[in-house]
């Protein structure tokens, strides 16, 4: 897909300060919003949206939107995303107003419940209609929270991926690797929330802080816009003499990046370095060298900034977008089909084979849905053919520097056998 997409709003916006709205949706989203430091995120307007009045009352957000109808009888969504969705669609114009005039809308939500899972996709749709860039930061439930919530979260995530420009997703289960046996429930939730907030902070810094090597708003747009994919992100920090090496090591062992696998699989990576005044070019170079090595196929956007408070420390925020998810909304249907074609030609696990019949089906489906009015059509994801590991399917994978060595070398290196 073409990365240099025409985006007039951003070009104009590059000259003035950008309006950023951070919207917390649902119980988890609102409480995450509360944890954002008001001073640090001074320029942003913070909006809380929920069906539950009590959670809104406790919120520190500047704007609070209580979605309430007779349908819910004041009981909230009761964990049912369909109800959340229905009420959000009913109040579509309210949501749209809330997103008005924003250049970037950051949605915070915990998926799995009723409000977060139901409202977020609709909100993302509303925000996109106002022309804003939509990034969603979501958590997925722990496995122990049960099947139903997992399923609901999965469905909602799929919807978000097709509607929002970018989804940064934190499966809480992966955070298990970061905690030890004795961590309390409270601390665990604080930790997963904290990780997500780090992601928000990373993006926030990108957008607001002047950098030595600046990442422009356009870069971010180009990276996420119309990509509709799930991104992984990680934030690591190191101090001392060997910090640049330590940072790379930590990143490659980071559970949220699947021990570096996410980097190898990504096709677009945004790296933001932040150090004290003692940050040297050699360090930046060393870190970036490693990145280029590990994400060979990726387009890398890097930025570096200096913060006097970061004395002797170096922190790196990485956002990696995975390739493969090329499902686009209806307006970009043709481009989705085009994108599928080159993947086929490379003989590379041929992810989607759309024949003429299916293509017609897709178009007619699209046409019949668009008649229904404002509701955005959702294109279903076609299954990916995953490279089988043959006899090593069930054995412990051999992972070396983020690569699964059980997958044939010629597949990983993309060597074509004609």
């Amino acid at each position: 897909m073409n990365d240099k997409i025409e985006f007039p709003a951003a070009e104009v916006a590059a000259n003035r300060s950008r309006t950023i709205k951070i919207i917390g949706v649902g119980g988890a989203g609102v409480s995450l919003l509360n944890t954002l430091d008001a001073d640090e995120f001074a320029g942003a307007s913070r909006v809380a949206i929920n069906t539950d009045a009590a959670s809104l009352a406790a919120s520190t957000a500047t704007v609070k939107i209580h979605l309430e109808t007779k349908l819910l009888r004041g009981l909230g969504t009761g964990g049912d995303p369909e109800r959340g969705k229905a009420i959000a669609e009913e109040q579509f114009s309210t949501l749209k107003n809330a997103c008005a005039d924003a250049d970037v809308v950051l949605i915070l939500a915990g998926l799995g419940g009723g409000a977060g899972s139901g409202i977020s996709p609709v909100l993302a749709g509303a925000a996109r209609e106002t022309g804003a860039l939509v990034l969603a930061f979501v958590t997925l439930p722990f496995l122990c929270e049960g099947n139903r919530r997992q399923q609901q979260a999965g469905q909602s995530l799929d919807q978000l991926k097709t509607i929002a420009d970018g989804v940064i997703c934190l499966p809480s289960q992966k955070a298990f690797k970061l905690i030890d046996e004795n961590t309390s429930v409270l601390d665990t939730f604080r930790l997963t929330g904290g990780l997500l907030v780090e992601g928000v902070r990373g993006v926030w810094r990108l957008l607001t802080r002047p950098g030595l090597i600046q990442i422009h708003f356009d870069d971010l747009c180009a990276l996420v816009r119309h990509r509709h994919s799930e991104s992984s992100f990680a934030f690591v920090e190191a101090a001392g003499a060997g910090r640049s090496r330590e940072i790379v090591e930590k990143l490659l062992a980071h559970p949220l990046l699947d021990e570096g696998r996410a980097l190898a699989e990504s096709d677009a990576v945004l790296v933001s370095l932040m150090g004290g005044t003692d940050l040297t070019m050699a360090e930046v170079n060393r870190v970036m060298e490693q990145f280029t090595r590990h994400c060979e196929h990726a387009q890398i956007i890097m930025g570096a900034a200096v913060d006097a408070a970061m004395k002797n420390r170096l922190s790196v925020t990485v956002i990696a977008s995975r390739r493969g998810s090329v499902a686009a909304p209806a307006g970009h249907l043709t481009s989705a089909v085009d994108a599928a074609a080159p993947a086929d030609a490379r003989g590379h696990s041929s992810p989607v084979a759309i024949n003429l019949n299916q293509r017609e089906q897709l178009i007619t489906r699209h046409a019949s849905r668009s008649r229904k009015g404002p509701r955005k059509p959702v294109q279903e994801q076609l299954p990916l053919a995953i490279v089988s590991k043959g006899r090593f399917d069930k054995s412990e994978p051999t992972v070396h520097k983020g690569e699964d060595l059980d997958i044939p070398t010629f597949v990983r290196r993309g060597v074509a056998l004609n």
């Binding site: 590991k389 090593f392 060595l405 059980d406 044939p408 070398t409 010629f410 056998l417």
Partner: protein, 400 residues
């Protein structure tokens, strides 16, 4: 019938085959190979057991075959182990010399070795080998035997090989289930290097790469002592699996194609050539492009060497391998493998030859048997030490 007290058996439970080697210790300490038993392995993946019942049967077959050939009853074995969980690292132990005259005594040496062995391992891991490299006295490097020297501070460098206890116990339990004693467990890579390297080569610096069915084990010697060990859980099985995937043939067929037409370097002569696969009835099933076959193999084998090379570079040993690289294991049979490995490792590469062992000429030349032979050799060195220790307790031997 041989005198059973002098019988030493090496047993390697490999991913593709199980091999038992029976050696007879002569009066002068040399080892004579008198029996060999092997059996294709089942129930193994990446050097570890995944199906105990199947693996047990295969081990029994190999042992029975070796017993028949050597005409002995096998009571105990030196058991080879490998697997991705095995790691090696160097550790230094420190001990202050406290005696009034500052002369280093036997007790000091024992203490410093004890300190070096007291390492911080994860609770579920055990030490397989702790190999003494050399001593340092007041910071002076390279001392082989410090007893009788003067100094305030005695240090020792050791190479420690350790692995996950439970996973190591799996194969031990299997062997014990066959009413056999396990004398000792030995890391396969160490056994292979014992069988292949002469003391000159160990002194000059040498790398032994054992490309087995499920794992690639490698060991670095320098200055006469073991310096570095590693296991990569990638081996010949992966090559076959890649071929099966790339050529779209079943695994058994891929294995056969690998043996019959494989090459580590894409042969100019095969470009554009194809072989026809026949089905059970002898009718042509489909054709396979030989160039593709060899390219898939070349990529996988090259990657193995690249990973080993990167690991050595990180450990800083690439410049110390004066004697070069020695290959063994089934993977060493792949035609042109040395030609592939040389540019990657940037060292002279040759196929290893077992030495200092006599008997069964046919077995000694096979790269697959190197590990098992090395296990028997390890056993013979152990027993020789035990016998000699009565009159000379501090014989510097390569593994301690």
């Amino acid at each position: 019938m041989s005198d059973e007290a002098n019988i030493i058996v090496g047993l390697e439970i490999g991913t593709s085959k199980i091999c038992a080697v029976v050696g007879e210790q002569n009066g002068d300490g040399t080892l004579n190979l008198v029996g060999l038993g092997q059996s294709p392995a089942r129930g193994m993946r990446k050097g570890e057991i995944v199906d105990v019942a199947q693996a047990e049967e295969c081990v029994r077959n190999a042992i029975v075959e070796a017993e028949q050939m050597a005409d002995v009853e096998i009571r105990s074995v030196y058991l080879g182990v490998t697997g991705a969980h095995i790691r090696g690292f160097n550790n230094r132990g420190v001990h202050p010399v406290v005696s009034a005259d500052r002369e280093i005594s036997e007790d000091d040496v024992q203490d410093v070795v004890k300190n070096a062995k007291a390492i911080n391992l994860p609770a579920e891991n055990t030490v397989i080998h702790a190999v003494r490299q050399h001593f340092l006295v007041d910071g002076h490097d390279g001392i082989a035997n410090p007893v009788g020297m003067f100094g305030a501070r005695l240090e020792v460098d050791m190479h420690v090989v350790h692995g996950n206890t439970n996973r190591l116990q799996n194969s031990v339990r299997l062997v014990k289930g066959l009413q056999l004693e396990v004398e000792e467990i030995v890391f396969n890579g160490l056994a292979s290097s014992l069988a292949l390297l002469t003391s000159d080569q160990k002194e000059l610096g040498a790398l032994v790469i054992d490309i087995g069915g499920g794992t690639t084990d490698y060991v670095v010697y320098y200055d006469g002592v073991i310096k570095h060990t590693g296991v990569l859980a990638v081996g010949g099985d992966h090559v076959s699996n890649d071929l099966g995937h790339g050529l779209k043939v079943p695994l058994s067929r891929a294995e056969k194609l690998k043996v019959e037409h494989g090459s580590a370097v894409v042969d100019e002569a095969v470009k554009g050539q194809a072989v026809t696969i026949l089905n059970d009835l002898g009718l042509p099933l489909r054709t396979v492009n030989l160039e593709h076959l060899q390219r898939i193999m070349a990529l996988r084998l090259e990657e193995i060497f690249q990973i080993v090379s990167a690991d050595l570079e990180q450990a800083g040993f690439t410049d110390y391998l004066g004697a070069g690289v020695f290959l063994c294991g089934g993977g060493a049979r792949v035609p042109n493998i040395a030609r592939l490995a040389e540019p990657v490792l940037q060292l002279p590469v040759s196929l290893g030859q077992t030495n200092s062992i006599s008997g069964l000429k046919s077995a000694l030349d096979q790269p697959e048997f190197v590990t098992a032979i090395g296990l028997a050799k390890f056993g013979s060195l152990k027993t020789r030490k035990r016998k000699k220790s009565a009159w000379w307790p501090h014989l510097p031997l390569p593994w301690k």
